[in-house]
Symmetry: C2
Subunit: 185 residues, 2 copies
């Protein structure tokens, strides 16, 4: 019988992030994370496959949110407008989570294994955006360029947001998109 544990996943996420920041990702064990969160290792494994997945558990639903926003862009929107809608949806999902996002960003940046996993996540986003643009009738080569450019904006804006002073991720994404237009015009 599974015991009801309110917010165990979120507690485990916060505990893991704190431990990764304090003592490094490599030096942290699942037992320590469970302990800090006040649950058993068994509970940990009910929520996450391993200590890496604590940091990536939301990736799939984030991708879904982003792709849905791209797909829902008005039919009149060009490829980059649709891509921008997808990236801005990620910004809305990150709102209010800057401290957590900064900690996560620092841990991922410092750990090759996590950087690799993050890279795969970004490649998956590019593939999903590109496919969604083709569904909108965009030619494959152009769809890939728009998707790659959009995810580049997403990465750069995310880094600006966690390292900068602006609290609102949506504002940072809008600013980055505007700057890209200025740069390339």
């Amino acid at each position: 019988m599974v015991r009801w544990e309110p917010g165990a996943a979120e507690r485990l996420r916060v505990a893991a992030m704190a431990l990764y920041a304090e003592q490094g990702y490599d030096g942290t064990t699942v037992a320590q994370i469970a302990d800090r969160a006040g649950v058993t290792a068994r509970t940990f494994f009910r929520h996450f496959a391993d200590k890496r997945e604590v940091l990536f558990a939301g990736s799939e639903s984030l991708e879904q949110v982003m792709v849905e926003a791209l797909v829902s862009a008005p039919a009149s929107a060009g490829p980059m407008e649709a891509v921008a809608a997808g990236v801005l949806a990620a910004g809305e999902a990150f709102a209010g989570r800057r401290d957590f996002s900064r900690q996560r960003y620092e841990v991922v940046s410092a750990t090759p294994e996590l950087r690799e996993r993050e890279f795969i996540k970004m490649a998956s986003l590019v593939t999903a955006f590109s496919a969604a643009l083709r569904e909108r009738g965009v030619a494959p080569a152009r769809a890939l360029l728009a998707a790659e450019t959009g995810i580049t904006v997403f990465r750069v804006a995310f880094e600006r947001w966690v390292e900068g002073a602006e609290e609102d991720p949506v504002a940072v994404i809008r600013e980055t998109l505007t700057e890209l237009t200025e740069l390339t015009s």
Copy 2:
């Protein structure tokens, strides 16, 4: 005493690429590469640290060529124009090597270890471009966005070139840059 072996490095490169294409990267040994190139394993190791570096030996000089072209762009050139000069210099370096580049692209794409190495190479290019733009007086945040965007164009154009019909990599890069401007305007 080092025996003079004309073009041993190039022969090793061609032999390695042929073997990677025939039997996969993981299934190929240094002994097989040396054998195919008609040299000893000892000669192999005089030229390359391991079988991975056969595919990445030119990376540093390519980066140098690209950064020099960026640095040499006229003072009146904006950030993206300077970045474009850097990317176009890579195109010139690749001219006439499409078959080799396609084979390399296929091997790298099929092998996680090589994809990771290629990713590190691209990250290094972004860092170098970004630093060179800051030297030109571009603000750090804008320099990073321009560098990231330029390397995205480089990756997309390279893929279009090896998979497409156009022989001239410079033409493909120009076309991709123009398309980016259209997309973002």
